[in-house]
């Protein structure tokens, strides 16, 4: 049996406000899924729910890894079980060097039973591997000595996320707009690297608005999210339709979800203008 990440009837709320309402999605290891949808439709919320963001409240449904619910698992446990997420907006950790952070993370993920304070993987071995991975991503060695995401450009942050994925070798990875902020060549390289790292090994969920990241990661399935639900699932041709023609046709095909979407985003606009 191949390993599976299975999301069933997932309902998620933030501060009492429902965001996702009944998401179903099953990813097997080795598959590439694309997740598309207009801004504010709930894509990042789904990613966050998979990783166990503390602010997200699961009101209904399940997330299972190989048949076991992970809802009660701490974020750290999920990471150690092989779940990864490349953040849309990675956090800066000033004063902590990329290399130190990654050595710690890599050790924990590769040796999930490691206790706090126990040994890290040997420096030499780790450095060698990190250097190789960085070369593959055409990152300067200097990068390892910089503080995590501190003062990184948008592009550097996204490449750092891919580097982390490469080191952690997850079973399942959610890439949340990993192409945004990258220029054309960088996206190409990213796309290639993800394919090389992932290959047949990972189950990948790629959240994107464009086609470039998919170039070397041709999706087996494309999902469209609208108003907090996955409203359509198709093959690579659906992705093509969406990035060439936008979401209006999808909205037309799903008027009820489009209405919910409108409501969600209008609340957001009101909040935004109220705060201004």
């Amino acid at each position: 049996m191949t390993e599976t990440l299975k999301i069933s009837n997932l309902h998620v709320a933030v501060e009492g406000k429902p965001i996702l309402s009944g998401v179903n999605l099953t990813i097997h290891r080795g598959e590439v899924h694309a997740l598309m949808g207009p801004n504010g439709s709930g894509k990042s919320t789904l990613a966050g729910a998979i990783m166990g963001h503390p602010k997200l409240e699961i009101t209904e449904g399940t997330i299972e890894l190989d048949g076991r619910s992970i809802l009660e698992w701490d974020t750290s446990e999920r990471a150690r079980a092989g779940v990864f997420m490349a953040f849309q907006r990675p956090m800066a950790i000033p004063g902590v060097k990329m290399a130190d952070f990654l050595r710690h993370a890599t050790t924990n993920v590769r040796y999930p039973s490691r206790k706090e304070g126990e040994q890290l993987i040997p420096m030499r071995e780790f450095r060698k591997e990190l250097r190789e991975k960085m070369a593959q991503l055409r990152m300067d060695e200097e990068f390892a000595r910089r503080y995590v995401n501190d003062g990184f450009s948008g592009g550097e942050m996204k490449r750092a996320e891919i580097l982390q994925m490469a080191m952690l070798r997850p079973k399942f990875a959610v890439l949340d707009e990993t192409d945004s902020g990258l220029d054309v060549d960088a996206v190409k390289l990213a796309s290639q690297s993800i394919a090389e790292i992932g290959g047949a090994e990972m189950g990948i969920l790629i959240i994107t608005h464009h086609d470039r990241l998919l170039e070397h990661n041709v999706p087996d399935f494309t999902h469209v999210m609208l108003g907090g639900r996955i409203v359509e699932t198709g093959g690579v041709e659906l992705a093509r339709e969406l990035y060439t023609e936008g979401y209006d046709q999808v909205r037309a095909r799903h008027p009820e979800d489009a209405a919910i979407e409108k409501e969600m985003t209008s609340i957001e606009k009101k909040v935004a203008s109220g705060a201004a």
């Binding site: 701490d74 902590v96 952070f101």
Partner: protein, 473 residues
């Protein structure tokens, strides 16, 4: 003779972060213990015990009067000390060792546990180890001794370099400065006396280690450093004590003179038990084109009040003060810095980082003063506070007095809380909550820690980790 090192069991309620390595009591047989309490008789007795000249006894007695006339400091934290319930002088051994084998076994084992002899072998140019009131071990590399470097305990200095001590003691910090400087002047014992002759650059640090062992003990070391023209020295002090249920008092005075073109770096890494009142006065005067640096790591203690100062006396003098304070449960770190620009074109920099956790409280209290006529002087103050939980607290009290127009004075302060998003990010990479907050904290102090020599950076990081380990609950 009993020579057992007893390790006190840690109370399971103890989440104070003061962990095993420092928390043991050495059973000793002090050869002289002054009676508890403080009066003229006890002060004279201490002076007699030390066979001091009359001028020193008079210095002490005068200081006692000043102490009695001074009010408690009105700033800082609550000080609940019964001055009559403290031992002011405890002599642990008959003589000072020149090799560790000369040191009584049980005391040697104490310092072994604290890793001092090992560090000495590896990277120190000289060591003083003070146990209770007296320095029990002292060494200085032969090479430095030949060059005329003096590194001795202050009691020996009174005997062997009496004129120097008499000329300078109390000139930088007179007993009248504050109540605790007066107290130290009255009952001081031990501490380091250092003289670095003109042009002598000491490559490796000189280290002193201060250990309080007995309960209700007061430790009052007196340190004096003179760095002559063009000379350089790095002096490091470490301090620890075991945990008792009653309070002890550590009240040191450190006076430093940095002559023209000289450099002095004074690093403190203190990790006091949580029942220690740590009320210390440290001040340096820096002359033309010299550099005085204070690096101050304040961990532990019930209350620390400490504001290392640099008075820049002549053009081109510089003062730098880097301080880290970590306040955990039941602790108040009222720490900071003072820079006083008395001459034109002097330059100072203060960087202060504080961490408050588990209900701890840290305050930055700093003075930047630019005197009339100190044209072209520059001062920059940056203080950052990191608060780990809602029960903890941080305050900033900057005092800025500028009497001159043509100067540049900058002050920046920031307070941040460990963010949920930062923790989530690190946890999503497999770090536990505790590892994640530890990492954020070590990143927070990194800009300071990287200024330390390797060995001390490692030690500082380790101490911070110990403090973080106690953070559950």
């Amino acid at each position: 003779m009993a020579t057992d090192l007893q390790t006190m069991p840690l109370d399971s309620q103890d989440v104070l972060g003061e962990i095993n390595k420092y928390n043991f009591v050495t059973e000793t047989h002090g050869i002289f213990k002054a009676r508890k309490g403080l009066n003229e008789h006890i002060v004279s007795e201490i002076s007699e015990m030390k066979r001091e000249p009359a001028w020193m006894r008079d210095f002490r007695l005068n200081a006692l009067k000043v102490f009695e006339s001074k009010p408690m400091p009105r700033w800082g934290g609550a000080i609940n000390i019964d001055f009559q319930d403290i031992y002011y002088y405890l002599k642990p051994t008959t003589h000072q060792g020149k090799t560790w084998d000369d040191v009584p076994q049980e005391i040697k084992e104490t310092f072994d546990k604290l890793g001092i002899p090992e560090a000495e072998k590896k990277f120190l140019a000289g060591v003083k180890a003070q146990f209770e009131s007296e320095v029990v071990y002292g060494s200085l590399s032969e090479d430095l001794a030949k060059k005329g470097v003096i590194f001795t305990d202050t009691d020996t200095a009174v005997r062997e370099h009496g004129d120097l001590v008499r000329e300078y003691i109390g000139t930088i910090i007179p007993p009248e400065d504050n109540k605790f400087a007066a107290l130290n002047s009255a009952v001081w014992s031990g501490g380091s006396f250092i003289y670095v002759p003109k042009g002598v650059k000491i490559e490796f640090p000189l280290q002193a280690y201060f250990r309080i062992n007995a309960e209700r003990m007061g430790q009052f070391e007196r340190t004096f450093i003179i760095v002559d023209e063009g000379a350089e020295v790095h002096y490091v002090e470490g301090c620890t004590a075991p945990m008792y249920s009653s309070e002890s008092l550590h009240s040191a005075v450190v006076e430093i003179i940095v002559r023209r073109g000289a450099r002095c770096r004074y690093t403190t890494i203190q990790n006091w038990a949580n029942n220690i009142y740590n009320l210390v006065t440290k001040r340096a005067v820096a002359y033309g084109d010299s550099l005085m640096e204070w690096i101050d790591g304040n961990l532990g203690s019930r209350l620390t009040m400490k504001y290392p100062a640099v008075y820049m006396m002549e053009p081109g003098a510089r003062g730098e003060i880097l301080s880290i304070a970590f306040a955990s449960k039941g602790q108040h770190q009222d720490a900071g810095a003072k820079v006083v620009h008395c001459a034109p074109h002097t330059k100072s920099r203060i960087i202060s980082k504080s961490i408050s956790k588990n209900g701890g409280r840290s305050s930055y209290r700093g003075l930047c003063k630019v005197q009339d006529g100190a044209v072209g002087s520059k001062s920059s103050v940056v203080c950052d506070a990191l608060i780990l939980d809602p029960r903890s607290r941080s305050d900033t009290y900057p005092y800025i007095e500028v009497e001159e127009q043509d100067v540049q004075v900058e002050h920046e302060a920031s307070v941040s809380r460990i963010g949920e998003e930062q923790l989530f990010y690190l946890k999503s990479r497999g770090l536990t909550e505790a590892e994640a907050s530890s990492m954020i904290v070590s990143g927070f102090i990194e800009p300071l820690v990287k200024e330390l020599p390797m060995e001390y950076a490692v030690e500082m990081n380790r101490l911070i980790e110990l403090q973080m380990e106690g953070s559950v609950g």
